[in-house]
Symmetry: C2
Subunit: 363 residues, 2 copies
């Protein structure tokens, strides 16, 4: 079956592009002598996680415990949850996983760490944890200056195996130039290098130091201060990555296949895909909510829930009612969370359909 024969909206991954993206970032990690632990929140699909592991990833990252459970059920046995796990139900679920596979979690306060410590110790587990450091995003994490004291505090708690540090240079999405992206990567490395020197004597071993993102991934070098990177979006790319100099339009592997349902006047068309298929996220610089793979000058200037407002005034493509088009979204990580399956295609031919097993697993 051809992609163009599918009913719409449908989520499509172009396997040629996906594989090229996987190879490119795996090569960055190898060249910089970094462990690659891709963030699978982007795809939530065990099949794609396996493709990442097959290309040398040491394990995976997830954002939530529910994603970890879904990935563990698919046989993946080394998972970092890049979040704070809070509350008795979650701690119970976490420790059930920790008893059968290697699962690491973040901590950024005693309030988070103490209940984990108590529960792990009671079950005779030494749970691997990484301290979250805030290097500028102002989300979770402690300031770098507090890391040595907090390292001592966490290291003294039973039931926890403090393995190192992690950070996320998410401020990279506000960078205005490619040089600024490189600067953020360099800043991240410098801070983490300093912290490594300070905490190595406290841990007695070289710490695991995890950071990175898709835009910063090309900017790390061997000995830079990180031991591990966790890029996520690189598998699919999207308009956000194009805007952040991490991809070209031809690197965008994920699209939403949609049908033109109305062409009310020349230069304007309406698609059967809106914010319930494409999400309302904005791109850093690109206007609107997506562009067509077939003609990047055809832009979705507005979304209602089930309608995409397509502006064709600068486009060569002039689709008619019934024509199908592929939309490159602004932010692929949220789009994959709206569909139950991804259709894997090569050269426009449908090869497989992969369930997005961790879709909606935000708990």
């Amino acid at each position: 079956m051809r992609v163009a024969d599918l009913d719409t909206p449908a989520l499509i991954v172009d396997l040629d592009r996906l594989e090229a993206n996987l190879d490119r970032v795996a090569a960055f990690a190898r060249a910089a002598d970094l462990t690659l632990r891709p963030h699978t929140k982007t795809h939530k699909t065990p099949h794609i996680a396996q493709l990442q592991l097959a290309r040398g990833a040491a394990g995976i990252t997830v954002a939530k415990l529910g994603e970890a459970e879904a990935m563990a059920a698919a046989g993946i046995d080394d998972i970092f949850i890049a979040h704070q796990i809070v509350g008795p139900q979650k701690i119970e679920r976490l420790l059930a996983l920790a008893e059968r596979l290697k699962i690491t979690v973040g901590v950024d306060s005693r309030d988070v760490a103490a209940p984990l410590s108590t529960a792990s110790a009671q079950r005779g587990i030494r749970l691997p944890v990484l301290i979250e450091v805030d290097i500028g995003l102002r989300r979770c994490g402690i300031p770098p200056g507090q890391v040595p004291d907090f390292t001592r505090e966490i290291n003294a708690l039973p039931g926890l195996n403090l393995s190192g540090l992690f950070t996320y240079p998410g401020q990279v999405y506000a960078a205005r130039t490619e040089n600024e992206v490189a600067g953020i990567a360099a800043y991240e490395c410098r801070i983490l290098n300093d912290l490594t020197r300070q905490i190595s004597p406290l841990l007695g071993v070289a710490p695991r130091v995890s950071g990175g993102s898709t835009p910063t991934a090309p900017h790390y070098v061997a000995g830079c201060g990180l031991t591990e990177i966790r890029p996520g979006s690189y598998v699919f790319n999207d308009r956000t990555q194009i805007d952040r100099w991490a991809a070209q339009p031809t690197d965008c592997a994920l699209t939403v296949l949609a049908t033109v349902v109305s062409t009310p006047e020349p230069g304007r068309a309406v698609l059967d895909a809106g914010s319930k298929s494409l999400a309302a996220d904005l791109a850093p610089d690109s206007p609107g909510h997506g562009m067509l793979k077939e003609d990047n000058h055809a832009v979705l200037v507005k979304l209602n829930e089930e309608h995409g407002f397509l502006d064709l005034s600068d486009a060569v493509l002039k689709p008619k009612v019934g024509d199908k088009v592929e939309v490159i979204p602004n932010h692929s990580c949220v789009v994959s969370n709206l569909f139950d399956e991804i259709v894997a295609a090569r050269g426009g031919e449908v090869l497989e359909t992969w369930p997005i097993v961790a879709r909606g697993k935000s708990r």
Copy 2:
């Protein structure tokens, strides 16, 4: 079980508020002698559709065929799909439904109508259709001036039962004052009244004339020119409806229960709910991406996918790590599409859990 004992993020509906919302808009429709055909895209939940029908709704509206199938499977037998149905797979699915229940669809071009006509006639069906009229949203629909000619054209097609007109005054969400909302409702009525006069002789019967929205719902009166309204958001309300003078904060029935996972500094907290639980939609006027039910001055100023950045600088509430809070979202219709179930609660006590059967049914 108490709501506060649930694991997070969880989607909660406050039944007292839901029932008050249902009653209020049902009363508007009764007072204006209008058929109420609520748009169920807001909740995608057959259980809530049944509550609407029990309060006098004549049938339901859906945005997509997949939603219609889900609602039909739950026993609902009078459904309007307020969209254009395009493509052979969808037409086949539509006619399978049309053979067993009353299902009406929109048409706004011959390109949409002709294949429906051919397929319906072949199966010996007379499919009810409404012509979509654009009264200012510039989405789908024909301009009012073209309605008489298009009525003649559609009325002549076999297999279709042209029953009237529908429109959607979605430009109401760009209104800057409550007077402007009333003006948009009045404009809608005037246009549809004129069109009714023009097409009644062509149809030989009084047309079904369907319009409306949650913000305009209070502004219709008997004999206004509409015969039916299709408000959707009123069941839950949200910050968008507050901004459009359609609700007070205490009318917001839908919340996302979230846990505070980090309090990096005074005035700032991080929730375990981000854009994958709350969606990135903006409200017309209110800042950020949501506010706490417990303290409306606590605002989610930014969302990452699984993190909510809570600004407490103007708030009295000072939640600690582990505390649970309820977030009133910007746009409830897209939030319900992110969860598999809604927890129905009264006075903070969990009563039932309803599957969101049509979640993700955008096809």
